[in-house]
């Protein structure tokens, strides 16, 4: 580690300590959160003490997926703030956070999907409010700001947030046919293409920690979606350039280098982002090389899950084991990836693994409790694990809802075709 990295790492740790202390102090102002906090701590302690995973772990259904889905979407709608934005998290120490532009943007497709599946008008209404709020944050350049709430005067444009919000805008346009939304989406896409480096990566002030990251493949997925709507070849070319750059980081083991998060381990959440962005972009752009690379990495993780009955919270390069907590968001993302790979390849082993990891996720989902807890996906299991400790996070709920809806759609298709045959 060089001197600059060392200082950055030290600053990060100091910031983290201050944040932990500030969150702990939050409990003093809201003693009513003491009971949910201690009951969650106790239940996770009991579960981790007595849990014995065996060959048949998660091979049978314990909680119906429809019930879990309704509960998770209920959590997201509860987390929608009066401004229309969705909170980043509910902390057992400090309660709901402020609205979070990035997540609000990419929860929009999830809410529309839920409305389509169940006919629930509340989800559609929530998607309208979320769209209005993110549009109110767009900068003149077409970019969207980073950070929570995004209204601070010194808010910087953010490549990743712009990409994630772009996904929501494209879906909102598809649902409402509102030309203004498409115009705003195109402006965001133009900005992303304009500031992209020649090698296909994004670096500089608008990028987290200033360095290029392979998990920005999620941005190229959004650009590929936009290209299909805008028919603008510059959007498609930007998506392809980034995927080429990500593919240049693929290792013989299937591992994809270049997550490049200083001061953070490679959480499963980010590993899954790299794979998911590359897979979805590959599907839209008909890039077999990207689909193959995503499938290879996803297969390594599938084997690990099937063999050990769990995925670890973090991995070191070449998928070497690291910290033993579970990153539940990463698990839900892997479920989405495996389900999509089943859809693309027809290999039922992906569907089988996704069904099992969904069982695991449903088992740790609180189906009872107060607002903020009920239906919430914790950052880590146990909740004191390193990824977003003591919090139920909105992007975890988004990915679990996506996974459960995909499961219902694909299993429905499989079961119907069997009955017809």
């Amino acid at each position: 580690m060089n001197r600059v990295e060392s200082i950055a790492s030290r600053n990060f740790m100091t910031t983290r300590t201050v944040r932990v202390l500030a969150e702990a102090a939050g409990l003093l102002g809201a003693p009513q959160r003491v009971i949910p906090l201690f009951s969650k701590l106790a239940s996770d302690e009991l579960r981790t003490t007595f849990e014995r995973r065996h060959l048949y772990s998660y091979s049978s259904t314990t909680i119906p997926s429809a019930e879990a889905l309704r509960s998770v979407v209920g959590w997201m709608l509860d987390a929608q703030r009066p401004d229309g934005g969705i909170a980043a998290y509910y902390s057992l120490l400090t309660g709901y956070s402020e609205s979070y532009p990035e997540v609000t943007g990419y929860i929009i497709p999830t809410l529309y999907d839920f409305e389509r599946l169940t006919g629930d008008p509340a989800a559609r209404h929530g998607a309208y409010l979320a769209t209005d709020w993110v549009l109110s944050l767009q900068m003149l350049s077409g970019a969207f700001p980073g950070g929570l709430r995004g209204r601070e005067s010194d808010a910087q444009p953010s490549v990743f947030n712009t990409g994630q919000i772009l996904q929501g805008l494209i879906r909102a346009h598809a649902e409402t046919k509102n030309a203004e939304i498409l115009k705003r989406a195109v402006a965001a896409g133009d900005w992303l293409a304009a500031i992209q480096q020649a090698d296909g990566s994004w670096t500089g002030l608008a990028v987290y920690q200033g360095t290029a990251h392979t998990y920005y493949s999620m941005v190229s997925w959004a650009l590929a979606q936009l290209a299909a709507e805008s028919k603008d070849p510059s959007h498609a070319a930007a998506a392809d350039r980034n995927i080429d750059w990500v593919l240049s980081h693929v290792q013989p083991s299937g591992w994809i280098d270049g997550i490049n998060l200083l001061g953070h381990p490679a959480y499963l959440h980010f590993i899954a982002y790299v794979i998911q962005g590359m897979l979805e972009c590959g599907i839209l752009r008909r890039r077999d090389d990207a689909i193959q690379a995503a499938a290879r990495a996803a297969w390594v993780l599938l084997r690990k899950f099937e063999t050990h009955k769990r995925l670890l919270g973090t991995y070191q390069p070449d998928f070497k084991g690291d910290r033993r907590f579970s990153c539940l968001t990463g698990n839900a993302q892997m479920s989405c990836i495996w389900l999509r790979l089943f859809e693309v390849t027809g290999d039922l082993r992906y569907l089988n693994a996704a069904l099992k990891i969904n069982e695991m996720l449903k088992e740790v989902l609180p189906l009872k409790g107060r607002h903020g807890v009920r239906g919430g996906v914790a950052g880590s299991h146990p909740i004191w694990g390193r990824y977003q400790p003591m919090r139920f996070i909105s992007w975890g709920c988004k990915f679990l809802a996506d996974a459960l809806m995909l499961e219902q759609r694909l299993m429905g298709g499989l079961e119907t075709s069997e009955c017809a045959s």
């Binding site: 065996h54 060959l55 049978s60 039922l348 089988n352």
Partner: protein, 275 residues
């Protein structure tokens, strides 16, 4: 031919049936090495596989035979012929051992130094694996010819767990493979491979599996006799580019496999997929 049986529990019906069938054919084992009957992992597996009620019935039938006379006495009815002995049934490996005069040794792990020492003492030509741990190279090398396993699917197409179910779902013809074990999972050289033609008579996956286990035992016996006569030899598995390992199947996919089993009985062309 000095044969040893490796078994997951002294009450394993498959283990008992293999030992009894071989003994009936004149290949009485020189010993049997079994895991304990009350291993927590094995117990959980049985409960998960069979459900609590069936597991309890099974335990009562095995441990207190007098109280279970009015209940079904053999979980896999197709093994009843192999397990019949006079007027009764072999209920455990100890019963088979008493009848045919071979020792049964219990161990906590089939790879443990104690298990290895016991196997070396028996100095077998061949070991038959009917369940237990994933065997390490050190154990696999002890029998002169190797360790045989009956796998309930054609190899190398379907390796690993839930193999009959995966065969149904993936449109691979049902079959049984007798192969030597190596350090990979179902990757060792193949001795015999036969298609299973009895699926049309099966009314459930359990029924299918039970019939295949029974037929697998007959095929094992045929393989042992063939090896003894020097009439058959093993061939290495064909290299395949893609990974063909399968894992325990989720119950919702098993339900699809069950429908496929029933559909294929009505129409041989129905219910295949490209997975």
């Amino acid at each position: 031919m000095r044969v040893v049986i490796l078994c997951s529990s002294p009450y394993s019906e498959t283990g008992c049936a293999v030992a009894a069938r071989l003994a009936q054919l004149g290949y009485s084992p020189v010993g049997a090495l079994t895991l304990p009957s009350w291993d927590r992992g094995a117990l959980l597996r049985k409960v998960a596989q069979w459900g609590l009620r069936t597991s309890l019935h099974y335990a009562v039938a095995k441990l207190a035979p007098g109280k279970a006379t009015n209940r079904r006495q053999v979980l896999n009815p197709y093994l009843e012929m192999s397990l019949r002995y006079g007027d009764g049934l072999f209920r455990s490996l100890r019963d088979v051992a008493r009848a045919y005069g071979f020792p049964v040794v219990r161990c906590g792990d089939q790879n443990s130094p104690r298990a290895i020492a016991q196997l070396q003492q028996w100095s077998p030509d061949l070991a038959i694996f009917t369940g237990g741990n994933i065997l390490r190279d050190e154990v696999l090398k002890i029998p002169r010819l190797g360790v045989l396993n009956s796998h309930l699917a054609p190899l190398p197409e379907i390796r690993g767990m839930s193999s009959p179910e995966w065969s149904l779902l993936c449109g691979v013809p049902l079959g049984i493979t007798i192969h030597f074990m190596d350090t990979g999972l179902d990757t060792g050289p193949i001795l015999l491979r036969r298609e299973f033609a009895g699926a049309d008579d099966c009314d459930s996956l359990t029924d299918l599996r039970n019939r295949m286990i029974s037929e697998g035992i007959e095929l094992l016996a045929e393989a042992v006799a063939g090896l003894d006569r020097g009439a058959i030899s093993a061939a290495p598995q064909a290299e395949r580019e893609e990974d063909r390992q399968f894992f325990v199947m989720h119950e919702r996919l098993k339900a699809v496999a069950t429908r496929r089993l029933k559909n294929s009985r009505l129409s041989p062309a129905a219910g295949r997929c490209d997975g």
